[in-house]
């Protein structure tokens, strides 16, 4: 795994196995999941793409951006711009155009932001993100601060071949269950493509240079690399990939609003990156998945907790009501706990576990050897 701290091949084999199992779960999930969970799965994958794109900056280039949601928002709004009425446009030009707009914005914002470093860079990207937020929120460009509808799904027709509609028509479960398969698998394909792209990119010279910049920028400059150019290229690539996620989001929800570009969204993506672990390419996928699972689990945990404390007479609360009342508190505590306890995220945990298993096997083997 490029960027992983471990170079232990045996551990890598185990991690690879884990990833394959994960892929199989993603691929087979719509066969068992209900409509809601298939849609939730699509959303998780959209966020996984978004978090992977940010991880290119945070985890591999060493640039902590707090304005990454801007590119997500720009591409999502592009879908609205390109389908102003009720006439659907083709994916084949709207997708490149939306992603291109996000990339263009990343070029401009990156060119300016990268004049600064560290804490300044973080704040400057935050401010640029807010600028995009206000562009959609306050000016006529965004339509309305409440958000706007996308009235027609982009069509997915290629060379006259009749592909299934990108976003399957919604049907009531009673009326014959049909989960929204197409978009789910298109998103899955996109996620895998982004993963593969990043894997190749990070193995290339470019990948080695940006990772060198993360470790020691001065050294890379001394070696003669145009550091600014590399950082900008990385920033633009991240913006393009973030735009891909934004496009998919707009197609999935058909409703876009300024908050998609706001700093709360940026912080959430960062949270996914940290939660998943930024040393690996797949970490952010875990992060996106875990954050969504956390929401569901937090709710159940509060319900259990309150039920128990009611039982021993400590409190008198409706457990479900408490869950909706206090889950933000739990989310806050969990975020802080992760930052303190799991600085390398879930993928760090997996890598450690894999390394441990292998070293355990090795020591067991060596013990056996010693016994003979």
């Amino acid at each position: 795994m490029i960027g992983a701290t471990t170079t232990d091949n045996g551990a890598n084999g185990l991690v690879r196995l884990f990833l394959l199992v994960g892929l199989a779960v993603f691929a087979l999930f719509p066969l068992v999941g209900s409509t809601f969970y298939v849609q939730l799965g699509t959303k998780v994958m959209v966020f996984a793409i978004l978090a992977m794109s940010l991880n290119l900056l945070v985890g591999f280039t060493g640039l902590v951006s707090l304005g990454h949601a801007a590119f997500f928002g720009i591409a999502a709004y592009s879908v609205y711009f390109f389908t102003p009425g009720f006439t659907a446009a083709s994916v084949w030009w709207t997708l490149p155009a939306a992603v291109g707009l996000a990339g263009l914005a990343a070029l401009v914002i990156g060119a300016l932001s990268l004049r600064t470093k560290g804490i300044f860079f973080l704040m400057v990207t935050l401010a640029f993100g807010q600028m995009v937020f206000f562009l959609f929120h306050d000016t006529p460009i965004g339509g309305s601060p409440d958000g706007v509808y996308v009235n027609a799904v982009p069509t997915f027709d290629a060379l006259g071949i009749d592909l299934p509609e990108l976003r399957d028509r919604y049907q009531l479960i009673e009326g014959g269950a049909r989960a929204p398969f197409t978009l789910y698998y298109v998103t899955l394909a996109c996620m895998l493509a982004v993963y593969a792209f990043l894997a190749v990119l990070l193995r290339s010279l470019f990948g080695h240079v940006i990772q060198g910049i993360r470790v020691n920028e001065h050294r890379m400059r001394a070696l003669g690399y145009p550091v600014y150019g590399y950082k900008l290229a990385s920033f633009v690539i991240a913006g393009l990939l973030g735009g891909l996620a934004g496009y998919l989001w707009a197609v999935q929800s058909l409703f876009v609003n300024p908050e998609l570009a706001g700093w709360h969204m940026s912080a959430e993506i960062l949270l996914m990156v940290i939660l998943g672990g930024m040393g690996t390419i797949y970490g952010p996928i875990l992060g996106a998945l875990a954050l969504e699972a956390l929401r569901e689990l937090a709710e159940i945990a509060i319900e259990y907790g309150v039920t128990a404390s009611n039982a021993i007479g400590l409190t008198e609360m409706d457990p479900h009501r408490a869950a909706t009342d206090y889950y933000l508190l739990v989310e806050g505590v969990v975020i802080i706990a992760i930052v303190i306890v799991l600085p390398r995220g879930l993928s760090g945990l997996i890598e450690d576990l894999a390394a441990y298993l292998r070293s355990g096997r090795r020591s067991a083997k060596s013990e056996a050897e010693q016994a003979t």
Binding site: A127, T139, W263, L329, V333, I335
Partner: protein, 295 residues
């Protein structure tokens, strides 16, 4: 777009007062932020929560005792104490960690503060009583008039700014703060009690934010979500002024006050964006802010 604001000198004058008052209040919040930034290298997204502490303290104490002036010391003390406790319990473990973790830590804190606020005060909208002695308007040039209390806010903020200037330029603590903002390692090497300086600066910063909340409580609603009211904009002030520079925060805050006030009446659609455009322009010109040290 409308430039009427310049047509009438009375309107223009009152808008200047509005801009100054907004800028000075922003300075109170941003000065603490820039100190905490500059000296400890901590990005504190939860800084706005101390503004909230001040605002709710003003409401609660004034409601209980009938005296706004009594709320001032209590609220500021609460802000300082909470800042001190958090520095000791949490932040000091994050000085050497990447900014990334600081961002997430303080993002988590925002959520917790907001929920605790809800448990303590509920979700109603409140307002602190305006001190009676200042509850009147001053007529200005014909049809315009200006609330006396808002003028008082500006005066108090200016006094605080002066006090801060004296503290930083004339006292031993100030010397350590200046040294810390300039070069943290050097201060440590000189054997200065950095633990004390950090706790003091953190308390000072959060106390100032609480003071801003207290002062504004009689003229702004005290309600859920106010911790975010000035959060991002005060970061912009810090970036424009230069990180760690209290002087920069002062001029940056005034600049933002003016840009925001006049944008609102000249180009209302772009008012939200105007301050960020200003920031982009400043950074193109000086990448470390107006009074920041060159990198």
């Amino acid at each position: 777009m409308s430039f009427d604001v310049f047509a009438d000198p009375a309107i223009f004058l009152v808008q200047l007062l509005n801009a100054t008052q907004q800028g000075l209040l922003l300075f109170l919040i941003a000065s603490g932020l820039t100190l905490i930034f500059g000296i400890m290298g901590i990005i504190n997204l939860a800084h706005g929560s101390f503004y909230m502490v001040g605002a709710y303290a003003a409401y609660a104490v004034a409601e209980a005792t009938g005296s706004f002036w009594l709320a001032l010391p209590i609220g500021v003390a609460a802000g300082i104490a909470l800042g001190y406790v958090l520095e000791r319990l949490l932040f000091r473990f994050f000085y050497e960690r990447d900014h990334l973790y600081q961002v997430l830590l303080t993002f988590g804190l925002i959520l917790i503060f907001e929920e605790v606020r809800g448990m303590m005060f509920g979700e109603d909208t409140h307002r602190a009583l305006t001190p009676e002695a200042l509850d009147f308007s001053i007529p200005l040039l014909g049809v315009q008039s200006y609330p006396a209390y808002r003028l008082a806010i500006s005066v108090i903020c200016l006094l605080v700014a002066l006090g801060l200037y004296l503290l930083i330029s004339r006292t031993r603590l100030g010397m350590m703060i200046r040294a810390g903002a300039y070069n943290r390692e050097m201060v440590q090497a000189l054997g200065i009690n950095i633990t004390f300086v950090y706790a003091a600066v953190f308390g000072l910063g959060t106390g100032l934010a609480a003071l801003a909340g207290l002062l504004e409580a009689p003229v702004a609603s005290v309600e859920p979500g106010i911790s975010g009211r000035y959060l991002i904009i005060s970061f912009v002030v810090v970036v424009i002024g230069g990180i760690g520079s209290v002087k920069g925060a002062f001029y940056g805050a005034l600049l933002i006050g003016f840009v925001d006030t006049f944008a609102k009446v000249i180009v209302p659609e772009a008012a939200g964006m105007s301050v960020y455009l200003l920031m982009a322009a400043v950074l193109l010109w000086r990448p470390t802010g107006l009074f920041g040290r060159p990198a």
